[in-house]
């Protein structure tokens, strides 16, 4: 699992049948210092994460598969919306 920031959303003309009705968000993985990765990722979301939210992303495709069906070609999902991050001394960047 890792942290990501939600940057946007997408809509589709066609999608795999198991993904019909699923909310999809576009995010960028962030590291402990808050630096966002260059390549965006598409995430399934059931929690209502919004733009600017920091979320925890699970890469457990088996969990998605159990929920959406055996043929579902999806892996990344939002499993939590972050309230607060506490880092060990010397890690990351302190805000405020």
């Amino acid at each position: 699992m890792y942290l990501a920031r939600i940057d946007g959303t997408l809509t589709s003309t066609t999608r795999h049948e198991t993904l019909e009705g699923c909310q999809l968000l576009i995010g960028r993985r962030v590291d402990a210092s808050g630096w966002a990765a260059d390549e965006p990722i598409v995430l399934l979301d059931r929690l209502g994460a919004r733009r600017g939210s920091t979320v925890v992303v699970s890469t457990d495709g088996a969990a998605v598969r159990r929920r959406l069906g055996n043929t579902s070609p999806a892996r990344l999902q939002v499993v939590g919306i972050v309230d607060r991050v506490t880092l060990a001394p010397g890690e990351g960047r302190v805000s405020k």
Binding site: R5, P73, P89
Partner: protein, 104 residues
Amino acid sequence: MRGHVVLNKTVPNLEGTRFLMVEPVTAANLAAGNGEGGGKTLVVADHLAPDRGQMVAFVEGREGANAYWPKDAPIDAYCALIVKDVDFPQLPDEHTLPGTEVQE
């Protein structure tokens, strides 16, 4: 989506599968909406038939093979949807983690 790969010969469970050349789009290019990719091109299996230049979302990993269930298929990248619109403004590369505090 940049093009197709046509196979002369393939393993049994992949017969009839379409293969696409796709180029991942960086956040900067996605926000600019300039049609540029910028990532490392890869081959994805596909059943949705996007046109060249259309944006798609693909899954990487063995989940790509789920689409072939109950058959087994040696697939690790699969086109899961064709994009209609993206709402993706350019946000800063540096993100302030919420309530970040460093332990004493």
